[in-house]
C-alpha cells in the first residue's frame, strides 16, 4: 500500500535527477533569500552554480541548531512573513527556542508526507486515528492531524494525557490507529489493563509511535499488550516535523522520503560522509521547503544507512532505528531535557549547590526523572516544613522549565559522586 506510488517507488536514477534539480533550487533560494546562508557560502567561496551533482552536496556547509538559535526567531526564513501561514517552535529548553515557519505550500507538502507515512505505517482512509500526540507548538499533534485529514481517515484530536479517557474513547469510538510516543502507548496499555479492558475488546490495529527512541523489545511489548502492529516514525521540527521518515510494514529501518529530503550519515567529529552500514550522525537537507530551507542540517541523531532495496517496493533510502544522540540531550517522554536546564534553575533558586544528578529510569512503561539536589547550609532548616517547601518549589520550577514531571530529592552535600574531568550529571537506567 502506497499513498503516492509514483514518488515513493520512483526508479533510483529518476529520483536522483529529481533530487539534484530540487537541491539546486534549494541552494539557490537559500543563497539569495537567507543572509545566513549567503554569508556561509561566501565564506568558503561557494556559489549556487557550483552544485552540479549530488556529490557536490558535500561541499556545502553544515547548519546546526545553534545557527537557528543565532537567527532567532525568523532570521532563517526564506520568505516574507506574509507568506508564512504557520509557526511552530521547540520548547526552548536549552536557551532560546528554535522557531520554524511554514508557507501554505510547506503545510501542503507536510500533509502529503504525513499521509504517506500513515499509509506506510498501515493506516487507510477507513481508519479512526486517535492522535494522542500533543497539539500546540509541538509539531507532533498537528503534523499527524493534517496527514490524517489528507489521507481521509477520521482523526480524533485527543492530544496527550488523561489516559483513562484515552482508553474510554479508544473503546467507545472504535479507534483503529493510535499515534503517540511509544512510552505513552505502553502507559495506555497499562491503564487499559488496570481498567480490566482486554485487547480483544478494542478495535485498535496499528500504532505509529515516535518522538523518542525506543527498542525492538519495546515494540514487541506494545504490540502484544495492545494487540496491534507498531511502527516507528521520525521527524524533527527544524526539518518539517513528523513525516520525515517512517518504517514500512517490513519493520526493518525507516524510509526517509527522499524526494523531499536528502540524507547523509556523517562522522560527527570529522564531518565526513560514512558508507552504508556505518553508524554516524544523520544530516538532512530539505529539497522542497519554502519557508525554512535547511542545508545539511545536523540532526545529532545517531543511525546508519541500511544498504540494499526494501522488499516493500519503496525506493527511498532506509536508516536504522535511532540509537542515541550526539550530545547530552535526554529525550524523556518525548521531551528534550538538558542537564544544563536543571543547573540554571538551581542557580536561579539560590541556596542549592549546583551539584545535582539526573536519574532517568523507566517504571513500567513511563520514563521517570529524579533530580537529586545537594542541600547547602544556607538552605537547611531544622524545620521539616521549610525543607519540604524547598523541595516543592524546586519541583515546581524544574517542571515548568523542563515541561515534564520530576521527582526532586534533597541529598546531603558531597553525596553526589564527584568525577574528575567532565561531571557525570546523568544516570540513564532505561533499557532501550
Amino acid at each position: 500500500m502506497y499513498w503516492n506510488e509514483r514518488y515513493e517507488c520512483m526508479p533510483e536514477a529518476e529520483l536522483q535527477e529529481l533530487q539534484l534539480e530540487r537541491l539546486q533550487a534549494t541552494v539557490r533560494r537559500a543563497f539569495f533569500d537567507v543572509p545566513f546562508y549567503r554569508r556561509a557560502f561566501q565564506e568558503i567561496g561557494l556559489e549556487p552554480g557550483d552544485i552540479k551533482s549530488l556529490d557536490d552536496l558535500q561541499r556545502l556547509p553544515f547548519t546546526t541548531k545553534q545557527d537557528l538559535r543565532d537567527n532567532y526567531p525568523y532570521g532563517m526564513f526564506a520568505v516574507p512573513m506574509s507568506e508564512i501561514v504557520r509557526i511552530h517552535s521547540s520548547s526552548g529548553t536549552t536557551g532560546k527556542p528554535t522557531v520554524v515557519g511554514y508557507t501554505r505550500h510547506d503545510i501542503d507538502v507536510w500533509s502529503e508526507l504525513m499521509a504517506r507515512a500513515l499509509v506506510c505505517g498501515g493506516a487507510t482512509r477507513h481508519d479512526i486515528i486517535q492522535n494522542a500526540y500533543g497539539y500546540g507548538l509541538f509539531t507532533g499533534g498537528l503534523g499527524i492531524h493534517y496527514g490524517s485529514e489528507r489521507l481521509g481517515a477520521s482523526v480524533i484530536p485527543i492530544s496527550g494525557g488523561n489516559t483513562k479517557r484515552q482508553v474510554m474513547i479508544m473503546k467507545d469510538y472504535g479507534s483503529t490507529v493510535l499515534t503517540c510516543t511509544p512510552s505513552y502507548a505502553l502507559h495506555i496499555a497499562e491503564v487499559m489493563a488496570e481498567m480490566g479492558i482486554k485487547p480483544e475488546e478494542i478495535k485498535l490495529r496499528c500504532g505509529i509511535f515516535g518522538a523518542e527512541p525506543w527498542s525492538e523489545s519495546m515494540r514487541q511489548e506494545i504490540e502484544k499488550r495492545l494487540g496491534i502492529s507498531a511502527v516507528d516514525i521520525y521527524g524533527l521540527s527544524e526539518v518539517i516535523g513528523p513525516g520525515v521518515g517512517i518504517e514500512c510494514q517490513e519493520k526493518n529501518g525507516l524510509h526517509i522520503f527522499a524526494d523531499h529530503f536528502l540524507i547523509e550519515i556523517i562522522d560527527p567529529v570529522t564531518g565526513k560522509q560514512l558508507p552504508p552500514g556505518q553508524r554516524g550522525e544523520l544530516v538532512i537537507t530539505s529539497l522542497t521547503k519554502e519557508a525554512l530551507p535547511v542545508i545539511r542540517y545536523r540532526t545529532r541523531d545517531i543511525t546508519s544507512l541500511i544498504p540494499g532495496p526494501c522488499p516493500c517496493g519503496r525506493t527511498h533510502p532506509r536508516v536504522a532505528r535511532f540509537t542515541g544522540r550526539t550530545d547530552d540531550m535526554l529525550i524523556i517522554r518525548g521531551v528534550n531535557v538538558f542537564p544544563s536546564q536543571v543547573e540554571s534553575v538551581l542557580l536561579e533558586m539560590g541556596g542549592t549547590e549546583p551539584h545535582y544528578l539526573l536519574i532517568v529510569d523507566r517504571q513500567g512503561s513511563l520514563d521517570t526523572l529524579e533530580i537529586k539536589v545537594e542541600v547547602s547550609e544556607t538552605l537547611f532548616s531544622d524545620k521539616v516544613r521549610r525543607l519540604e517547601d524547598l523541595e516543592k518549589r524546586l519541583r515546581h520550577e524544574l517542571e515548568s522549565t523542563l515541561g515534564i514531571s520530576v521527582k526532586v530529592t534533597l541529598v546531603e552535600p558531597k553525596s553526589i559522586q564527584r568525577s574528575e574531568g567532565k561531571a557525570v550529571r546523568v544516570i540513564d537506567k532505561r533499557k532501550i
Binding site: V384, L387, L410, S415
Partner: protein, 143 residues
C-alpha cells in the same frame, strides 16, 4: 535561658545516623537528647549535646549540613498534667510551637521538654512569669 540545638540533614539511607553518632563519639561529645523528624526522602536529626559549638564545628568539618538553633528547655513535674500546664500557658499567650521533644532527665523535677518556638524570648518571659523553670543551656549540657 536558651539552649543550643544542633540540627543535621540526613538522607534517608542506612548508616547516616550511625555516621553522626560515630563522629560525635569519636570526639567525646555526649548526646543529651535527640529527636528525628523524617519525611519519605530525608530526615532532620536534632540534638542537644554537652558541647554544641564543638559538635557543630566537627559535623560541619565532616561535610554534614548542620545548623545551630536556639530552643527552650523546660523542666516540669513528672506527673499527669505536667506538660499540659505548660502548653496551656504558651497557648494563652499565642506562642506557636514548631516542634517539641521530651526526655526524662535528671532534673530536679523529673521531666524535661525541649521546645522549638519562633518567639523564644516571649516564651521564656511568659513561662517564667508563671513560675515555670526554664533551664539554662549550661545546666542542660552538664546534666
Amino acid at each position: 535561658m536558651k539552649i543550643k540545638q544542633i540540627s543535621v540533614f540526613l538522607e534517608n539511607k542506612s548508616g547516616r545516623l550511625a555516621a553522626v553518632t560515630r563522629l560525635l563519639a569519636g570526639h567525646g561529645i555526649n548526646i543529651r537528647a535527640l529527636s528525628i523528624a523524617d519525611t519519605s526522602d530525608f530526615g532532620i536529626l536534632r540534638l542537644i549535646v554537652d558541647d554544641p559549638d564543638r559538635a557543630y564545628t566537627e559535623l560541619k568539618g565532616a561535610g554534614f549540613t548542620v545548623s545551630l538553633t536556639e530552643v527552650l528547655g523546660v523542666e516540669m513535674p513528672d506527673r499527669p498534667g505536667g506538660l499540659s500546664n505548660i502548653l496551656s500557658i504558651l497557648e494563652e499567650n499565642g506562642i506557636n510551637i514548631e516542634y517539641l521533644y521530651a526526655f526524662i532527665g535528671r532534673g530536679d523535677n523529673g521531666a524535661l521538654v525541649i521546645f522549638r518556638v519562633e518567639e523564644l524570648d516571649a516564651a521564656i518571659n511568659v513561662l517564667q512569669a508563671r513560675g515555670i523553670i526554664v533551664l539554662d543551656g549550661e545546666k542542660i549540657y552538664r546534666l
